[in-house]
């Protein structure tokens, strides 16, 4: 039982990463390698604010969300803006990869390469077992993010502009939508969301510099399995991947986590290349 619950919790984190991929993909058609690094920054900054500076949890939450938002803005500014204006297909992959590497290296130099503990967020004993906050906090945050995104897309003007941009960027621009500013906004949002998820899951993952790449990879696998562009798919894919990882760790051993994850990706891509909830894309000829 504890296996399934912890699997669900880490799956929620993957789902959050997949949601962030979706937010960035909707406005820019870019899958950023630095996606998981926003969550990593959330965890590291949260631990730093609370343990080293001794700030209370709400202030630390605000601080790390702000740091994540700033990182999202920097991603857009440094790695996306100039590259997209050149419209070469490969270059954004390289620039976000470079940014991710630099971020990881800087954090490892500043924070150290060992995972450090993340302080308790809510007053609770360590004997709660399955009801422990480190399991349900990430799940709650992932659900909250998904519901919030759905409301944002359906109810607000900016959400509708995002949808228009993701449907047809040229048409949106022709109707007077400021595409560049919206893209920057979406990256800031993605950074804040990732940071929030990383903060909530800090007790599960610890504040660890190498978390970013793992999350980028697993979040992407969750997204590809669930269907690119679908928020429901991101949730289902993330949950399934987390559970599968946990069960595989329980039965085979913890050494084969990536193998299992890539196996899932391959099976889904072979059977249903667009993912479980994805829409088919016609090939341009």
């Amino acid at each position: 039982m504890i296996v399934l619950v912890s699997g669900l919790a880490s799956g929620a984190l993957f789902a959050a990463a997949a949601l962030i991929y979706n937010v960035m993909f909707s406005t820019s058609k870019v899958l950023s390698v630095a996606t998981g690094h926003t969550s990593m920054l959330g965890g590291v900054f949260g631990a730093w604010f609370m343990s080293s500076l001794g700030l209370p949890a709400p202030v630390a939450l605000l601080g790390s969300v702000a740091a994540g938002a700033a990182f999202g803005f920097i991603t857009d500014l440094v790695a996306i803006r100039r590259v997209l204006s050149r419209s070469d297909e490969h270059l954004w992959l390289l620039s976000t990869l470079a940014l991710a590497t630099m971020t990881q290296q800087v954090v490892s130099l500043w924070w150290g390469t060992e995972p450090r503990p993340f302080p308790r967020l809510l007053p609770q004993g360590y004997s709660a077992g399955l009801a422990d906050q480190r399991y349900w906090l990430p799940v709650a945050v992932a659900l909250l993010l998904a519901i919030g995104l759905e409301l944002f897309y359906r109810q607000t003007l900016y959400g509708k502009l995002f949808m228009a941009l993701s449907e047809d960027a040229f048409a949106a621009r022709a109707r007077g939508v400021p595409t560049g500013r919206l893209r920057a906004l979406s990256y800031v949002m993605a950074g804040a969301m990732g940071s929030l998820a990383g903060f909530a899951a800090g007790q599960l993952t610890f504040a660890y510099f190498a978390l970013g790449l793992t999350l980028s990879l697993n979040g992407f696998i969750a997204l590809a399995a669930g269907g690119l562009g679908s928020n429901l798919g991101a949730l289902v894919g993330g949950g399934a991947l987390g559970m599968l990882n946990a069960v595989a760790t329980y039965f085979i051993g913890g050494e084969y986590q990536n193998t299992v994850a890539v196996g899932l990706l391959m099976v889904v891509l072979l059977i249903k290349p667009e993912g479980l909830f994805g829409t088919k894309v016609a090939r341009p000829v």
């Binding site: 100039r82 470079a98 590497t101 696998i221 590809a224 890539v262 891509l269």
Partner: protein, 349 residues
């Protein structure tokens, strides 16, 4: 590709002689070792260059194939007592086999999916290396035997690596400048056009990927014997990024550029100590700068500068509309000109 000028064979011969005699003029053994390391990396990067530089497939996971080659060499030559030369060949073969296994599913995927799959494959290889202590020694690692007598010393192994590297360079050069190279560049620039002109896209990609797997396996064998002891920590994912950066910095679709990139990027952190501490940050920064400022790589930049120095004017290939002909074509029905004149002017509708 330019044709041979008269001076070029002489230049190549002189370069070859220089490189052959490197142990004599390098001074200390460390520099020879460094040169051997550069050669080993180049064996892999030359193969990867065909995949990444020419075909435009972003593979960040070649470090996994390098690791497979290294372990194959260490196990065959060390534990089973094969002749090191035979084991080196086998390492290349096994690298090619794993390239095939990895390429068959992943090369069908679009860009980002392919990059992530290769990244994951590198992680899988290091996972398995850690999880199978009976085969690979686990986290403790494996000792690796050196090469027999003529290649036993540092200088000797350098000469061997030089030989393999020259062979691989010659092969990739042949691939790049003939029909295959054109096909690969066509796939990189537009898959749809490549399909339309009858290039078997998937087969071409797979062939080149398997070739790069073979060179990665060979490089793994050489690398292992150079290091003389390997652990899973030797083959970190960032090494894959390093290979990739060498190619991008040198310029895609070239051979000399990535070679210079390899030399500079391998030698710089060794010679300048502060850079070694920053390590991956430095590579990331370099990659970012190149992508943002000179996406064609530094190689073409040098070519342009060289051309300027020699006093060549840069040629502009701008197409100017032939306004007179256009006017004739558009105005033809009204002016009542005979239609024959227009068709004679060119293929205007």
């Amino acid at each position: 590709m330019r044709a041979f000028t008269k001076r070029q064979p002489i230049a190549i011969l002189a370069l070859a002689a220089c490189l052959l005699a490197l142990p004599l003029w390098a001074g200390d053994l460390y520099k020879v070792h460094l040169a051997a390391l550069i050669g080993t990396y180049w064996v892999l990067i030359a193969g990867l260059n065909l995949v990444a530089g020419y075909t435009g497939q972003i593979s960040v996971g070649h470090v996994g194939l390098l690791s497979i080659g290294a372990y194959a060499f260490a196990i065959l030559a060390g534990r089973h007592g094969w002749h090191p030369m035979l084991a080196l060949g086998a390492a290349g073969g096994i690298g090619g086999l794993f390239g095939l296994v990895l390429g068959l599913p992943s090369l069908r995927l679009p860009g980002f999916y392919f990059a992530m799959t290769t990244l994951a494959s590198a992680l899988i290889v290091s996972e398995i290396a850690l999880a199978q202590p009976n085969l690979t020694g686990g986290g403790v690692g494996l000792p690796v035997p050196g090469f027999p007598s003529p290649f036993g010393t540092t200088a000797g192994s350098y000469e061997l690596i030089l030989g393999v590297a020259s062979l691989v360079t010659w092969l990739t050069w042949n691939v790049a400048r003939r029909m295959w190279g054109r096909a690969l560049v066509a796939i990189r620039d537009s898959v749809i056009t490549a399909q339309a002109v009858g290039i078997p896209v998937f087969r071409a990609k797979l062939t080149v990927f398997v070739f790069s797997g073979i060179t990665a396996g060979l490089a793994g064998g050489l690398f292992a014997s150079l290091q003389s002891y390997i652990t899973p920590d030797t083959f970190v994912v960032e090494l894959g990024l390093f290979f990739f950066v060498c190619i991008i910095i040198g310029g895609r679709g070239r051979i000399l550029g990535p070679f210079l990139g390899t030399v500079v990027l391998t030698a710089l952190p060794e010679l300048a100590a502060p850079l070694a501490k920053l390590g991956n940050f430095f590579y990331g920064l370099l990659l970012l700068i190149v992508v943002l400022l000179v996406p064609e790589g530094i190689g073409p930049l040098f070519e342009v500068l060289l051309a300027r120095l020699r006093g060549w004017r840069s040629q502009s290939w701008q197409v100017k509309p032939d306004l007179g002909r256009l006017a004739a074509a558009c105005g033809a029905p009204h002016a009542g000109k005979p239609r024959k004149e227009i068709t004679a002017a060119g293929p205007l509708p």
